[in-house]
Subunit: 211 residues, 6 copies
Amino acid sequence: MYFQGLFIFSLLIISSSQAAVLDFCVGDLSLPDGPGGYACKKPSKVTSDDFVFSGLAAPVKLIPLIKAAVTPAFAPQFPGLNGLGISMARLDLAIGGVIPMHTHPGASEVLYVVQGEICAGFISSSDNKVFFKTLKQGDIMVFPQGLLHFQINSGKTSALAIVSFSSPTPGLQITDFALFANDLPTELVAATTFLDAALIKKLKGVLGGTN
Amino acid sequence: MYFQGLFIFSLLIISSSQAAVLDFCVGDLSLPDGPGGYACKKPSKVTSDDFVFSGLAAPVKLIPLIKAAVTPAFAPQFPGLNGLGISMARLDLAIGGVIPMHTHPGASEVLYVVQGEICAGFISSSDNKVFFKTLKQGDIMVFPQGLLHFQINSGKTSALAIVSFSSPTPGLQITDFALFANDLPTELVAATTFLDAALIKKLKGVLGGTN
Amino acid sequence: MYFQGLFIFSLLIISSSQAAVLDFCVGDLSLPDGPGGYACKKPSKVTSDDFVFSGLAAPVKLIPLIKAAVTPAFAPQFPGLNGLGISMARLDLAIGGVIPMHTHPGASEVLYVVQGEICAGFISSSDNKVFFKTLKQGDIMVFPQGLLHFQINSGKTSALAIVSFSSPTPGLQITDFALFANDLPTELVAATTFLDAALIKKLKGVLGGTN
Amino acid sequence: MYFQGLFIFSLLIISSSQAAVLDFCVGDLSLPDGPGGYACKKPSKVTSDDFVFSGLAAPVKLIPLIKAAVTPAFAPQFPGLNGLGISMARLDLAIGGVIPMHTHPGASEVLYVVQGEICAGFISSSDNKVFFKTLKQGDIMVFPQGLLHFQINSGKTSALAIVSFSSPTPGLQITDFALFANDLPTELVAATTFLDAALIKKLKGVLGGTN
Amino acid sequence: MYFQGLFIFSLLIISSSQAAVLDFCVGDLSLPDGPGGYACKKPSKVTSDDFVFSGLAAPVKLIPLIKAAVTPAFAPQFPGLNGLGISMARLDLAIGGVIPMHTHPGASEVLYVVQGEICAGFISSSDNKVFFKTLKQGDIMVFPQGLLHFQINSGKTSALAIVSFSSPTPGLQITDFALFANDLPTELVAATTFLDAALIKKLKGVLGGTN
Amino acid sequence: MYFQGLFIFSLLIISSSQAAVLDFCVGDLSLPDGPGGYACKKPSKVTSDDFVFSGLAAPVKLIPLIKAAVTPAFAPQFPGLNGLGISMARLDLAIGGVIPMHTHPGASEVLYVVQGEICAGFISSSDNKVFFKTLKQGDIMVFPQGLLHFQINSGKTSALAIVSFSSPTPGLQITDFALFANDLPTELVAATTFLDAALIKKLKGVLGGTN
């Protein structure tokens, strides 16, 4: 039969790469990780489900104070992204909701407004210049890597946004939490932020910080 | 006045970085580009508008045959992404709509279903194994770099998806167009695809190819 | 003795880096791999043989239909390449032999014609433009990352080429095999390629595909 | 003459690379830059002086309030670093001096204490955990990319440190300046930081911010 | 006509990426270059010839002393490689020919023996261990980035090898030329190599060095 | 209580990233390493001490012949640097001390003169041009990746320098040691360096080499 050869050829290519570091590396969170990400799940155990994540489908419970929530689909939640240079998250903002000032230490971000109206902005490092704008449904905005930025629901309905990152592990450092939700001594916070000790202790109190 | 010093300090930092390659590099499409992307627009001319793109907000006219459309927000359309390792696109699929088999030569992709139901999948290179699944609203799926993949509206309503890429210039190579919508001689197409010349000429005809 | 000091100095440097992630990382295929490649073989077990591969020295059996063969020296076959950003393969083409349309999802390629005459080309993604040329012995041609390309023996003798890749695991996705040599349902292939079901089933049959 | 051949060989190699993108790319700040850095100064105009920078040799005037100063040797100040993945800065801290909370959006940092005693620390993003320690002369400490960190003179003499970065353009975003030394409307600052308007306006006043 | 839509779709994609930083970046050596390589030739001026290089097809004149020659196909010689992470070179070694100890500062290398027999090796940096072996026709060997290595014709016929690099601009630093074929003062060479001044002056003389 | 919500929000973020590949990857030298570095120590076992290294604080014993010493703080010595793209080393040079010709195969270097006067230089690969200069206290100099370079105490006091590298594992290949402190046969050294066998054997003798 004429095409038989192709079939054999196919098998040849397959067998030679059976141990391959190829195409993808679904993270195996039970193994030690490295600087580039998680170790790979054995290819023979990978299924379609490894490449699909439903954790962004439903809104999560909002945080009362900020009337908002962030739901990450980073490599720890969605190991199919491991090693692929990309990840996502879902932002829910009720009326008046806010994602406070924060950075992603390891990635740039693009935001897409699924519904509602969002005022978003970032602050450049070279001259503290602020770039911000009110985004309508369907608008996208980019936030360069590592810079302080924020999102506020500026509309009259709840808002939903999908954000993408240029890394499977972008990180998320919310400035208020970084400063007040830990045991960094009040005098060090005071010395490095110019806020007074009383305010710091108050914020530490509500955010669960100590010292 | 006590805080005066800080202000001076601020100016000091600013002046020393005024020529800086910092934070972002909004693409200037009128200048020669390089392997890493476009040359940067002068920082003094950059405004908030450079970081926002509204071209994905409205559905574009669908292509009758595939009942679908792809609207890119890559660096050429949205120069604010230049150098930031990320981009987006919008997929519109009417009932029965299809994004045909294609690859992105330079990026991995994550798809988020904004509305409707989409059957999506990709084919691994090492063993031609297919990974595909029907995605509901809110589901996300990842397509590893460079692999053949597709999206089909498998639901009873029109579908909308937002896709992100791990590069500002992911590229898009639709297999049928790559093979038939150009002047590659029919005998070369035949020799390299195992399709017969009559079929190739027919497809070339409808897709605008020659030779 | 005067130079004695140098000897001690040498030992000092050695001892301080004995656990080093240095110079090379010969792949140990028995350990879990990661996004960047295989884990490293213990340096004390590495010998000269780890850096030499003879698997490209002899022609392999050609596949009758395509009258050609591809012999990879990627990291799975040649673990000394692991982490070094490069690999090789050997192409054998009998008279009339063809390497069908394919992509390497993770690497650019350079081809060197060792003997014979080869017509080679690739298709750009931005405008489906074809770049192809007949190469003589000693000519080299570059194929940019992820783009569809092909090689055909266009001469009157058998041809031999050596190809190099910008990755130790470039991948190889032959379009016909990706589309037909698996269990992707015929109706999905039809919907995403515009080929009719009868032709797809025929190709699936000869290539070992099902559904 | 016997060695004559070598001389010719040398010239051969030289002439073939005379237009080379090789070895280094001293930045030419008068040309448009790109995502990867500045365009290169013509090799024929490059001298030894391009690779040496004396701007860190002398202490700069300290800022009274923080009793400290940062003197950068980033690519804009020292164009010889362009494209080489590294840069430096000098930190001067008088008794009681402080480098306030800040991030480098594009680089990790290593600090070396040249003289004095410095208490330095950073805050992780995943759990707001603080890592800090008092460093003596000769100690080094690493601050991972993009994370909030600080340095305080904790000794009884002035302190001097040299810091290195894993990028020629690491950026520097001092949180207080980013939040208060610009025209970001007070209500946006309040909404995204949980600080009250009165305090924000006061800080804006002293730091030169408006709105 | 039914397929008409596809044609329009095709044009749509084309027009949106007409200014694209896509697929390839053939170097334009007349423009300023950057850290990542040359600026790109305008896509409209790129032809198939830009991706093909014939400069390795014919042996060059050998250097009498070393009875060998290196012919590079790096980005300066073959601008089609620009930005693609790969390059090639041809090694010709007559009987007794030698490529002296050298490094490539910016790339790993793989060597393929086209004809003859070559003894090749490299020296690790961590413990000065030497890895070397005699290679027969068809053998390949990898030389990790930046390490000292050499090739010697160890056979009874002339030898030809093709080498590939993991960068379009790998660089080539032949130790003897680096030390003796320039104006580095003899006392500095002596101090940094432990060779005596008389030998250095002799080598400088034959290699065209001064001082 | 009003701020309670924030606390819950904080916990939410924490729990979702508890397995994260985030922020840092302190090397665990007891596990197999990979091309990108060591596997990561478990985050729960990481303390402030992992990010601080005191091994550069005290001068080491100088090597009599070169009257100098190099003390590395690379990832093997300071695992907190693992994956962060940077490292340091300390250079001690007594009066007349010399760091002989060497390369770092995997990194660029910046040197800061802490005390004394140092004559330092490097040799370009494209044309063997030498760039060198006498550096005073506080001066910095950059040495591009992989190029031969040296440092000599050119002053009348001992000198101390701190050097940084653009990699946690830059490597260090001292040319004299690479050539003579191993078992590379004398005839191969002779053939590849143009030095005569007697001199090679003499140098091998003092440096501990054989063959």
